[in-house]
């Protein structure tokens, strides 16, 4: 039976949700507003909120100074490439762990996650040397590989939890009907886990898009994605906050729009299996 919720309670919850939402969104909103200010207005004290002379000068300046499209394409290739490659590896492995667990499956899962616990800078030099020797420095292929490896534990874990929610009997029935292993995964398991896979895909694209350690350290001029684009506008000796904000807005806009359109899938995927 549904609980009776009083109007007052509803009001409080709504207000609380909006407050938290605005708090979380405020830095992004502020960046967006600052990108339309002049450098002098950007540091004005007290700060101006909406009433200033809006200007798009910063966007022109940023566009004239750096090649946004090149960085954008690199970001797209790296984030989509690494996520798709990761899914290709993770779906079979999550299947194995969810439906054919061995004695040490839990330990393997924990071990995979433990690689995420190490600070990435710990392996920077060895990885840099490997990349140098194989000619992968400053290539999109190299960054796709590294981001796949970095995000693989998360992809496997997410898929594993989704797969665990799917009754094994359905897969058994498919097997009884003579489906091969590949067919079982492609035609039976995957369609049932689509919400889970979709949210894993989206979340990992966002993670890969925002990844700023490896993409900065293993790229130079050719494969540099939008993270490097933002980093080129930050400066400890000079106040370029308005330009930096314009660059940041341009860098996060695509992923923000993608997230906006796919929020239904994201929320559905993230709460998948929460109710039994």
């Amino acid at each position: 039976m549904a609980r009776n919720v009083s109007t007052q309670r509803k009001l409080i919850t709504t207000a609380a949700a909006w407050t938290i939402g605005i708090l979380i969104f405020f830095p992004i909103l502020w960046t967006f507003l600052t990108s339309f200010k002049t450098e002098a207005q950007a540091i004005a004290s007290p700060p101006t909120f909406l009433f200033f002379d809006w200007t798009v000068e910063n966007y022109f300046e940023v566009q004239s100074r750096s090649d946004y499209f090149k960085h954008f394409m690199n970001s797209v290739v790296i984030s989509f490439g690494s996520t798709l490659l990761g899914l290709l590896i993770a779906i079979p492995s999550a299947w194995a762990m969810a439906f054919a667990p061995a004695k040490r499956t839990k330990d393997v899962l924990m071990w995979m996650l433990s690689t995420k616990m190490m600070p990435p800078v710990g392996v920077l030099v060895p990885l840099y040397l490997m990349f140098r020797n194989t000619g992968l420095l400053d290539t999109r292929a190299g960054l796709v590989m590294v981001l796949t490896l970095i995000n693989l534990p998360i992809i496997v874990w997410m898929l594993y939890t989704y797969f665990k929610e799917i009754p094994g009997e359905i897969l058994e029935a498919a097997r009884m009907d003579g489906a091969s292993l590949a067919k079982e995964i492609i035609y039976v398991l995957t369609p049932m886990a689509i919400p889970g896979i979709a949210s894993t895909l989206l979340l990992n694209i966002i993670l890969a898009w925002n990844e700023a350690f490896w993409t900065l350290n293993l790229s130079a001029a050719r494969a540099a994605p939008l993270t490097a684009f933002i980093a080129s506008y930050s400066s400890p000796e000079g106040l370029f906050y308005a330009k930096l904000s314009a660059a940041s807005t341009m860098a996060i806009a695509p992923i923000l729009i993608l997230g906006w359109f796919s929020q239904k899938q994201l929320v559905r995927g993230l709460t998948f299996g929460a109710v039994k």
């Binding site: 004290s45 130079a220 050719r222 080129s232 400066s235």
Partner: protein, 436 residues
């Protein structure tokens, strides 16, 4: 026959492609006004050198430092030219990571470089990096506030005068603070300022045997003076202020004085960015009469990593970017006030520059008065005015900077901060083998 024709064809195609392909130089640089201006003016270079193309990697200073250090230490060869500072040059040159710049062309006039700057970039008599712009630090002050308080700023003030003036100008009710100084922890943040200040108080990081000196009275005087002054006359939350925060405070009229990089002079006098542009005066960094002033010395410089395969083209570019003609080019296109300062004597002799840059004389005097090979009152075993040119300094400087920042924030006393700095520096220097 067919195969031979094919092979011949392939060979000639490859040879032709090789001939037609221009050499591409990848240049790593920092995001500051002068560097960005250079990127905009490179058409001049590429039109004179059509066989050389340029690719830029612009990064924030700390990201750049990490990025180029990884690359040069592993001989990654990602960059043909790197923008590095006076701190890196002596260390990297000794490691054999940089190529000496011995082919900058007959017109380069290396003797025109300011001696203090040149000496910081020279190792064993060879120049390993060419200065793009040089900077020191000086006092920037509000002439109107000084007048109101009945004070006159001398050209070469003492620390006592500065402290006295700062307290007199401070009007906390109206959000006017006598002095803004760096407080944010970091070897290039508060420690750049405090190490240079300590020099003028007679303090030093290490004695001749690399023994840390934070337990000596000179450091106690320095830190006591700084913390008391900032508590009385500094802005609130000063322990998280770096260059940019102070620049913003000064430009919005909240600071009576600001002691920081000479490069700030062109920002605070720019009416487009600064509300106090016409009210700023300049003076040399203060002293205590011991013979050293509290100013530092830094030069953003261009160097060629030893792993670069394109050293000749790289030297050509460096000769262009740091040569005399480049200064003229900037003057023609953007005016004399925007010429990169602090590298060449001839610039300071130029009457047009003197007219356009009111801070020129002060900048030159500040740079000339710094001596990286002999920075402190007492003898030291290291090179560097506001840093110690050893690889360990980045970590050490930041760790000590955190103690001093905590002292400024009131989280620990001056004595505790110094004791802890002494302890951690001794531990690290022993571990690194400097102290036997």
């Amino acid at each position: 026959m067919k195969l031979r024709t094919f092979l011949l064809g392939t060979c000639s195609a490859v040879a032709l492609a090789g001939l037609a392909q221009a050499e591409t130089l990848t240049i790593a640089t920092v995001n500051n006004g002068d560097m960005i201006r250079m990127q905009k003016l490179t058409d001049d270079f590429t039109s004179k050198n059509p066989d050389i193309q340029l690719e830029w990697v612009t990064l924030e200073e700390n990201v750049l430092r990490q990025r180029v250090t990884t690359d040069i230490a592993t001989k990654g060869g990602q960059y043909d030219i790197m923008t590095i500072g006076t701190y890196e040059v002596p260390i990297w040159a000794k490691q054999g990571w940089l190529l000496p710049l011995d082919n900058l062309g007959p017109d380069y006039d290396v003797n025109d470089l300011l001696p203090a700057i040149r000496s910081g970039l020279t190792v064993d008599g060879k120049l390993y990096a060419a200065p793009f712009y040089g900077e020191s630090s000086m006092v920037m002050y509000r002439k109107d506030l000084f007048e109101k308080a009945g004070l006159t700023m001398p050209d070469a003030p003492t620390w006592d005068f500065i402290a006295d003036a700062a307290r007199k100008i401070t009007d906390k009710d109206n959000e006017i603070y006598g002095i803004c100084l760096r407080g944010k922890a970091g070897w290039g943040e508060n420690m750049a300022f405090l190490t240079a200040t300590a020099n003028s108080f007679g303090a030093r990081w290490f004695d001749e045997n690399w023994k840390p000196q934070f337990d000596q009275p000179e450091w106690k005087n320095t830190l006591d003076f700084y913390v008391k002054l900032m508590n009385d006359a500094g802005p609130p939350g000063a322990s998280s202020n770096g260059f940019n925060e102070n620049l913003s405070l000064f430009q919005t009229g909240k600071c009576g004085m600001w002691i920081d990089a000479t490069v700030a002079a062109s920002f605070v006098t720019n009416p487009k960015e600064s509300t106090v542009a016409d009210k700023v005066g300049f003076a040399l960094a203060p002293d205590t009469g011991l013979g050293k002033r509290g100013n530092w010395l830094w030069a953003w410089s261009l160097a060629i990593p030893a792993a670069s395969q394109k050293a000749d083209a790289a030297q050509k570019f460096i000769a262009w970017a740091t040569g005399k003609d480049y200064l003229k080019l900037v003057a023609e296109k953007e005016g004399w006030a925007n010429v990169p300062p602090g590298t060449r004597k001839s610039l300071y002799e130029n009457p047009e520059y003197q007219k356009a840059a009111p801070f020129a004389a002060m900048t030159l005097e500040s740079i000339n008065s710094a001596d990286p090979k002999n920075p402190a009152v007492k003898p030291v075993p290291y090179v560097g005015v506001q840093f110690v040119a050893i690889p360990e300094f980045q970590g050490l400087g930041t760790a000590v900077g955190q103690q001093f920042s905590a002292a400024l924030a009131g989280q620990m006393s001056v004595d505790q901060a110094l004791a802890s700095a002494q302890q951690l520096t001794t531990r690290e220097m022993t571990r690194a083998g400097y102290i036997k």
